[in-house]
Every structure is written in structure tokens, then in C-alpha cells.
């Protein structure tokens, strides 16, 4: 195997192992929750077992020995759990969680090729060994029931355990005998199991040989349930089946019916059993094979190609228009239009499927957060109940990746500082178990994620004091800030520290980083807090970064774009009354006051031609002559499908942008229309230009800058603090 192939296989393993461990953590949380409510979930224990088993196999294959060893140890523990040799309790769950953390740790080490990373496998092993109380010495409950010994003899240890615990839980176990067509046996059984779920548990199914029907087989199912026989019969929905309860033995009753029929059944059972069992496994294998893991880079490439096709489409449309204007061949025009429409339709489909491929459910993230909540709460002796809603909401993979750290930071803060200790909560007469809610839901082109705790809340007066003490704001500035404005101060650089007892502080990074990261994605974060009642963070994110609908406009001769998802409306400037409030221009818009921002001034754009144009004009003009191409100089020609809307007096237009609950009117010179654009980053070298989120190529090799609406709103409304030390503007 070559080096790169080897690396690829390793990366592939690490990705898969990561997925398994994530699923594992998720299942453990489910088990813990069930355990608290006094339930055991045998299916979930099995899932965990299977996951660890697969992990062991994979780790062995790629010689990650420590991972394999840890997996082996856990497989043993899970096996003991499955078979009921070890009872499921808090201690066992803690061990299992520790194991999952151990895997995470080892995997992270493997990812960095850091051989020094290790986990105390032996210590865990010793603790697991201490759990197992040797062979169970209690009396076997099975001997109390009238069970055909031939059946008992073919049950696996696990099935026997399930049978035993069903009796122990006071459930009734039925034998359900029915005939199934041979060719559909798998689906029929799966159907039966599915119908039973929630009502009854199918403990085992055993083929029996008594039936003489061709192409069919008689099967006997062992079903445990609490419902009445009638209800069970209805659930099973197989009137042809025969339902026989397994009765409790009367004392000293001797009822071994060792007749010939039963003997034959036993014989065939022994052969058939192993064939039935793997059917479950083939089911899960099939679902695995349906998933393809793809490098996100390949999707980016695909996205780029689709973007280029979009540019081609625009040229195509123009071509057809020209044809219509100049040709008299109606048939040809008609044909061209038909093809162009078809192309457009299919392109639209390709676009949305590529976008769809990039979408992942937020549950991927929320599951990780749930593990963190659990860990933190346990470490700090706090009791936190996590309520997650809308985990199925989908966002672009890239956004899911980028939002992980900010979310983690907010969760950490909430549990570290927002949520009070158990004693304190009791003193305050609050519920002992605190409630932490994560809710996600789509809103238009955006996804909203809400994180709500019921902790201390943030004290505005403390924020004011800290802001002044830390030199974030002057005494004068904080003086006339509303409590709402003060909440925003938390996001300012230099504010977050551990000293802020009120709840929001950081480890190393502050809330300003959280905000910056969210803004970089074109999102916004808002904070609302009620003292003593809790804090809510509301994060608004675009669903996708790749293709967006944008409004193109012109200001001081420069064409720019802004994401349409942030635009509420565009107005003709002179139709509204302009006023000045505290030195800031505002507009009366239907009874509301809209603060204005002259974008050209904010960006320090000089009058007339832009710098590169002035400087490069000679060269460009010369090139035009050389190339002999009819290139138009006027920017407006780029969007030839519609003539640009020009304001009458030249006073311009106001683009009303809304991010979260903040509004701002951007004053620009002209509106140039709407277009789907692919936003490209400015490149690492210019990655941090405030107010610009990227550039887009409109298909004529000219780049148009895309304005970062959330950043502009922040800057215009909250002052200039966002601007870093980049010089250069006029």
C-alpha cells in the first residue's frame, strides 16, 4: 500500500470510528435517561455493543492497538450487561461514558499522530472486573415456568436472559406459532417485530418443522408483553397464528411432553437457528452500504462547477435574447428557447441537489453538546436536564462545523456560570434540576438556534461596571445605554473574563470570538437575559453559504452585492423624510425610525473611479484595442437583461437590511437587480476585511464584493469597535 493510500485508509478509519463513538455517546445518553426512569432498553444496549464490536474490528485492522484493547474491555462489559450478569445502574453508565471519552481521547491522539496519548485501559478493566459478581447464585426463575425444554435448549444466552428478565418483570410470555412464506420470511418477521415495538418484545423466533406446507415454514416466536392476549393478537395482526401463553408451573406438576413431534422440532431447530440469527446483521449492513462518505472539498468543487454553469446560463439567456431580436427564423428561436428553459430547469435541480448533499441535521452537533452538558454538570455537581428540540433541522455541513465551537462555548458558559449549584437553587426556591433548552427551527433562508438556561441571568449593572473597569467603554458611553444595549457589550473584545460573576465568561476565548465566528458565517447572535430567571442566546444562521440570492447595487461607481436574505425591502430615498437624531441620519419609515448608513462613507470609498480603475485605466484601454473585443466599460452593461433602476434626483436608494431584530437602511446610488451568486472568500490574505464577506464572479471575470450585512449592522449601530487596525481607507 502506498503512503497516500495508507493515509487515506487511516483517515477513513478515523472518520468511521468517530462516527461510531458519536453514535455510542448518543446511545449512552438514551440509556441513562431510560435508566433514570427505571427502564432498560435491550435494543439500545445491543446497538452500543455492536458499535463497540465494530470499532474493535476496525481498530485491530488498522493496528490502533489501544483503541482495540479498550473496545475489547468494553465489549466484555456490554456483553455482561446484555446477558444481565451485571445490572444497569449509574456506576456502570459512568464507566461506559468514561469508555466513550477514552475512545474520543485516543481517536484525537491518533488524528494528530500523537503516540503519547493514552488511556488507563487497565484501570478501567479492573473496575469492570469488580462489577461482575461472579455467577448468579439466585434461584432460576425459568424453572418456575412451564417451558418446553427443547425451546430452552436452543435459546442463546442472551435470549435466555431476556426471557428470564421478562418473567422477572412480570410480563407474560407467549409462544406464537404461524406459517410464513419461505421467500418473504425476512420481511414478514421484520414486519412482526416492528408492529410489536412498544407493545411487546420478540424474544426469539424459532423455525419449527411440524408444518408440511410447500414453500412455507412454520415459525414459533417467543413474545413477552404486558398487554392482554386479545390486544397482542390485534397488534400482531396475524389471525392465522396460534398464540399460546407460557404458564407458571403448578408445584410438583410434571409435564414434559416429550413426544415425537417435539423431538423432531428440536432437531431441526438446532440446525436452523444459526441461519435465522444473522438476518438482523444483514439488515444493518445494507443500511451502511447506502451511505457514501465524501470529502467536503469534492463538494466544494462540485459547487464551483455548478456556479460556473450558472454563469453560462446567464450568457445563454442573453444569446437567446439576441437571437430573438435579430433572427426571423421563428422555429429556430422557439427551439432555442425550449432548450434554454430545459437547461435552466435541470440546472436548478442540480443546484438544489448539490446543496442538499451538503446539508446535515443539527443532531450531529446537538449530540455532542449533550455529552458536554452531561460531563460538565457531573464535574460540577450540578443537575441539568437537557431538552433538545428541532435536532432534525438541516444546515450546510460547513456551517455545522463552524458553529460547533461557538455553541460549545455558550453551553460551557451557561453551565459553568449561568446555572447555580444545587444548594443555591434550593435556597432560591428554584427547581433543583435546572433546565437547559436547545431549540432549532428554520426561519426563511435561515436557521435559528436558541440556547436557554434557567440560571442566574446577567446583571446589567454588573456589565456596566465591568465594561468601564476593563476600559471597554467609557463612563459616559455606558451612561445612557439601555439594559438591552448593555447585553451586547458582553460581545465586545476585552469584556469577557472570569471575574464576571453574572454568568458569561470564558476560558481563553471570550464571547467576542463567539460573535465574530458567527458573523463570519453571515449569522447573528443575540442575547436576552432576565436577572434570576436565566439567559437565552439566539443564533441566526444562513442555511447555506454556497449559493445565495443577492441584491446587486452600485455606490460611488462600485458594484456590490448583499445577501437577499438580509434585505427586507428597498426604497427610493427621496420619498421619505430624512431627519437627524443625535448626529445620526434616520428615516421615518411607516411610523418607525430607521437608522441610516451611507455605505460609501462607511467604506471610505473615494469619489469617482475606484483606485484600481484610475490606476489601471490606461492599461485596460490599451488591452481593449489590442484584443479587438467590444468590452463595455459601463458596469451597468453587466446586467443587460434589465436596465438598471436609476433614481430620479440621484439621491439614491435605501436598502433596508434586517439581521436578528436590528434594522438598518443602507444608502446606495442605484439598484441593479437580483441574481444568484456563489460567494467566494477573499482569500486568506484578506480574510478579515470588516464588512466584506467575500466576492463573487458575475461571469465576466469581474469580481463584485459581497457586503457582510450582520457586520455592517453591528458597526453602524454599535459604533466602530469592530474595525481592526487595518489602515488604508480615505
Amino acid at each position: 500500500m502506498s503512503q497516500s493510500e495508507d493515509d487515506r485508509a487511516r483517515a477513513e478509519f478515523l472518520a468511521e470510528a468517530q462516527e461510531i463513538v458519536e453514535a455510542l455517546s448518543r446511545d449512552l445518553l438514551v440509556l441513562e435517561d431510560a435508566n433514570k426512569r427505571g427502564l432498560t432498553l435491550p435494543e439500545t444496549v445491543n446497538d452500543v455493543f455492536r458499535g463497540v464490536h465494530t470499532l474493535k474490528g476496525l481498530a485491530g485492522m488498522f493496528s490502533f492497538e489501544r483503541i482495540a484493547e479498550l473496545a475489547h474491555v468494553f465489549e466484555d462489559l456490554l456483553e455482561a450487561l446484555r446477558l444481565g450478569r451485571v445490572p444497569m445502574d449509574g456506576g456502570v453508565l459512568d464507566l461506559l461514558f468514561e469508555g466513550a471519552e477514552g475512545f474520543q481521547h485516543l481517536l484525537a491522539g491518533a488524528q494528530r499522530s500523537d503516540a503519547a496519548v493514552d488511556v488507563d485501559v487497565e484501570g478501567l478493566l479492573a473496575r469492570i472486573a469488580a462489577l461482575e459478581p461472579g455467577a448468579a447464585s439466585q434461584r432460576d426463575i425459568l424453572s418456575d415456568y412451564d417451558i418446553d425444554p427443547n425451546i430452552l435448549s436452543v435459546l442463546t444466552e442472551y435470549e435466555e436472559h431476556r426471557l428470564r428478565s421478562s418473567f422477572e418483570q412480570g410480563r407474560t410470555v407467549y409462544r406464537f406459532r404461524l406459517q410464513l412464506a419461505l421467500d418473504a420470511i425476512d420481511t414478514s418477521l421484520a414486519g412482526l417485530k416492528e408492529r410489536c415495538s412498544g407493545v411487546a418484545e420478540v424474544l426469539s423466533y424459532l423455525p419449527s418443522s411440524s408444518a408440511e406446507v410447500k414453500d412455507a415454514i412454520e415459525i414459533e416466536l417467543l413474545i413477552a408483553t404486558r398487554v392482554s392476549p386479545a390486544e397482542l393478537r390485534e397488534t400482531l395482526d396475524r389471525p392465522d397464528g396460534l398464540l399460546i401463553p407460557i404458564e407458571r408451573k403448578r408445584r410438583d406438576s410434571i409435564a414434559p411432553r416429550m413426544d415425537a413431534e417435539a423431538g423432531m422440532a428440536a432437531a431441526s431447530l438446532n440446525q436452523a437457528a444459526p441461519e435465522v440469527e444473522p438476518s438482523e446483521d444483514t439488515g444493518s449492513l445494507r443500511s451502511l452500504a447506502n451511505v457514501v462518505r465524501v470529502d467536503i472539498g469534492k463538494l466544494d468543487h462540485l459547487m464551483n462547477v455548478v456556479g460556473e454553469l450558472g454563469s453560462l446560463r446567464s450568457s445563454f439567456v442573453q444569446l437567446v435574447e439576441r437571437l430573438r431580436a435579430h433572427s426571423t427564423d421563428r422555429e429556430l428561436i422557439f427551439e432555442a428557447q425550449r432548450i434554454q428553459r430545459g437547461f435552466q430547469r435541470h440546472l436548478g435541480e442540480v443546484q438544489s441537489s448539490v446543496l442538499g448533499v451538503r446539508m446535515v441535521p443539527l443532531s450531529q452537533l446537538f449530540d455532542k453538546l449533550a455529552v458536554i452538558v452531561r460531563q460538565l454538570a457531573r464535574d460540577q455537581g450540578k443537575e441539568v436536564q437537557l431538552v433538545v428540540k428541532g435536532a432534525e433541522t438541516e444546515v450546510d455541513k460547513l456551517i455545522a462545523e463552524e458553529i460547533a465551537d461557538p455553541l460549545m462555548h455558550i453551553v460551557r458558559n451557561a453551565i459553568d456560570h449561568g446555572i447555580e449549584s444545587r444548594d443555591e437553587r434550593e435556597r432560591l426556591d428554584k427547581p433543583k434540576v435546572s433546565n437547559f433548552g436547545i431549540r432549532a427551527f428554520p426561519r426563511g433562508n435561515h436557521v435559528v438556534i436558541e440556547l436557554r438556561d434557567d440560571g442566574r441571568g446577567i446583571d446589567p449593572s454588573l456589565v456596566r461596571e465591568t465594561a468601564v473597569r476593563r476600559g471597554v467603554l467609557s463612563e459616559h458611553e455606558v451612561g445612557d445605554m439601555t439594559p438591552e444595549d448593555l447585553m451586547e457589550v458582553i460581545f465586545r473584545p476585552g469584556f469577557s473574563t472570569r471575574e464576571v460573576v453574572t454568568g458569561i465568561s470564558g476560558r481563553g476565548v471570550g464571547m467576542d470570538v463567539v460573535k465574530t465566528n458567527i458573523n463570519r458565517l453571515g449569522g447573528a447572535v443575540e442575547i436576552a437575559s432576565e436577572l434570576g430567571r436565566g439567559t437565552t442566546f439566539t443564533i441566526t444562521l444562513p442555511v447555506t453559504l454556497a449559493i445565495i440570492s443577492a441584491l446587486l447595487f452600485q455606490t460611488r461607481g462600485r458594484v456590490m452585492a448583499i445577501s437577499l436574505s438580509a434585505v427586507r425591502e428597498a426604497l427610493r430615498f427621496e420619498d421619505y423624510a430624512l431627519r437627524t437624531v443625535e448626529g445620526r441620519e434616520v428615516l421615518d419609515l411607516r411610523g418607525e425610525t430607521l437608522p441610516l448608513c451611507r455605505l460609501a462613507e462607511l467604506f471610505g470609498l473615494s469619489d469617482g473611479k475606484s483606485v484600481p480603475e484610475r490606476m489601471l485605466r490606461t492599461a485596460t484601454r490599451r488591452r481593449r484595442v489590442h484584443g479587438g473585443e467590444a468590452q463595455q466599460a459601463d458596469d451597468a452593461e453587466v446586467f443587460s437583461s434589465e436596465p438598471p433602476v436609476k433614481s430620479r434626483s440621484g439621491a439614491g436608494f435605501v436598502i433596508v437590511i434586517v439581521v436578528g431584530n436590528r434594522r438598518l437602511g443602507l444608502v446606495v446610488d442605484r439598484l441593479l437587480g437580483q441574481q444568484d451568486i456563489v460567494i467566494k472568500p477573499l482569500g486568506r490574505s484578506l480574510s478579515s476585511v470588516p464588512g466584506i464577506s467575500g466576492a463573487t464572479d458575475l461571469g465576466d471575470q469581474r469580481l463584485v464584493l459581497v457586503v457582510d450585512a450582520p457586520a455592517i449592522i453591528d458597526e453602524a449601530l454599535l459604533g466602530r469597535w469592530l474595525r481592526p487596525s487595518l489602515g488604508g481607507q480615505a
Binding site: D295, G297, K298, D300, H301, N304, E308, R558, F603, G604, L605, S610, V611, P612, E613, M615, L616, R617, T618, A619, T620, R622, R623, H626, K680, P681, L682, G683, R684, S685, L686, S687, S688, V689, P690, G691, I692, G694, A695, D697, Q701, R702, L703, V704, L705, R723, L726, G727, G728, Q729
Partner: protein
């Protein structure tokens, strides 16, 4: 994308990698104002005619703007500003050198492309040997034709051309993020 070579791991030593067995290195010479400069040829990816450049506000003065090079947004720098030279209007001879900056190309505007020089080791004076401090952008001085062997061949009476050899990596180090 993913197939880009791992440039980050490239040595940060002065770029003298293109040294052949005779100790000759290749430099691309260009004109900035009245001066003649050169960059190691191996650092130059491509030479472009002046494309449409879009101004980016709030950038350092030396950044002319961004341009699209086959779909990739590329920053274009004005080398004259960087080297604190007076800016004259750009002529049709001007070109943009695409230079590798840690895996990402950066464009550098120059007034004119001159030629490729193959400089022998004894035709290059490294700044380190000169002991001058300077901006750090200058790697050394090239004197094509100063080699004793060449002088022998050409009679030795030629006016000496001087090339200021730039260190491409030092020029762009602010743009590494």
C-alpha cells in the same frame, strides 16, 4: 483545493532551491519605476496581463484589490507601494506576477517584465554578506555579467546591470494568516 502541494511545509530559507550543478539560479527580472528587480523564477507561478481588478475597501494601501484568476479570488499588490516607490500610472507593459504565498497565489503588479536571468553563484551578492539591515525584502544584489568567466567571454567592458533580488517570502509574510 485538496491537490494543492503542501506548501506550508516548504522551507522558509531564502529561495535558492533552483540551483543546478553549475551553481546557476534563475531569476525573473522586471522593472518597477526606474529600477530593475528580480524574483527567483521558481516562486513565480504565472504572468498575467492586467485583468479587471476590484477595489477592496479597508485594505492596506499596497493592496490594489482582488481579481479572479480562473475562478479563484486573488489579491493584487502594488509592489511599488510595498517598496515605497512613487506610483506612476500603469502602462500597457505592466503585468501581474502570480506568486505562491503559502499555497495561495498573490498577484504583484510590476511595470514591465524584462527577462529571465541565469545567475551564477559569483554573480549574486547576498544581503547577509553585505551586512546591511534594510527592509528584509531584499535577498541580495545580482550582477549579471560580473562573473569572471563571462567577463572573459565578453571582453569585460560592458556597463554593469544591477538587479535587486527580492525575497518573495519576506515580501508576503504579512499576508500569511
Amino acid at each position: 483545493m485538496s491537490e494543492a502541494p503542501p506548501l506550508a511545509s516548504r522551507s522558509e530559507a531564502p529561495e535558492l532551491e533552483r540551483v543546478d550543478e553549475t551553481g546557476t539560479r534563475e531569476f525573473l527580472a522586471f522593472r518597477l519605476g526606474q529600477e530593475r528587480y528580480a524574483l527567483p523564477l521558481s516562486t513565480v507561478r504565472e504572468i498575467l496581463r492586467i485583468p479587471h481588478v476590484t477595489e477592496v475597501p479597508r485594505c492596506p494601501e499596497e493592496v490594489i484589490g482582488v481579481t479572479s484568476v480562473r475562478g479563484t479570488v486573488t489579491t493584487v499588490l502594488d509592489l511599488r507601494v510595498r517598496l515605497r516607490m512613487p506610483c506612476e500610472r500603469v502602462t500597457a507593459r505592466a503585468r501581474i506576477l502570480l506568486v505562491d504565498c503559502w499555497g495561495e497565489p498573490i498577484g504583484m503588479l510590476v511595470d514591465e517584465i524584462l527577462q529571465v536571468y541565469r545567475l551564477r553563484e559569483d554573480e549574486v551578492e547576498l544581503t547577509s554578506a553585505l551586512g546591511s539591515e534594510g527592509s528584509g525584502y531584499v535577498m541580495g544584489i545580482g550582477r549579471p555579467g560580473s562573473s569572471s568567466r563571462r567577463r572573459d567571454a565578453s571582453g569585460g567592458a560592458r556597463v554593469q546591470e544591477v538587479l535587486i533580488l527580492l525575497d518573495g517570502i519576506a515580501l508576503m509574510k504579512e499576508y500569511r494568516s
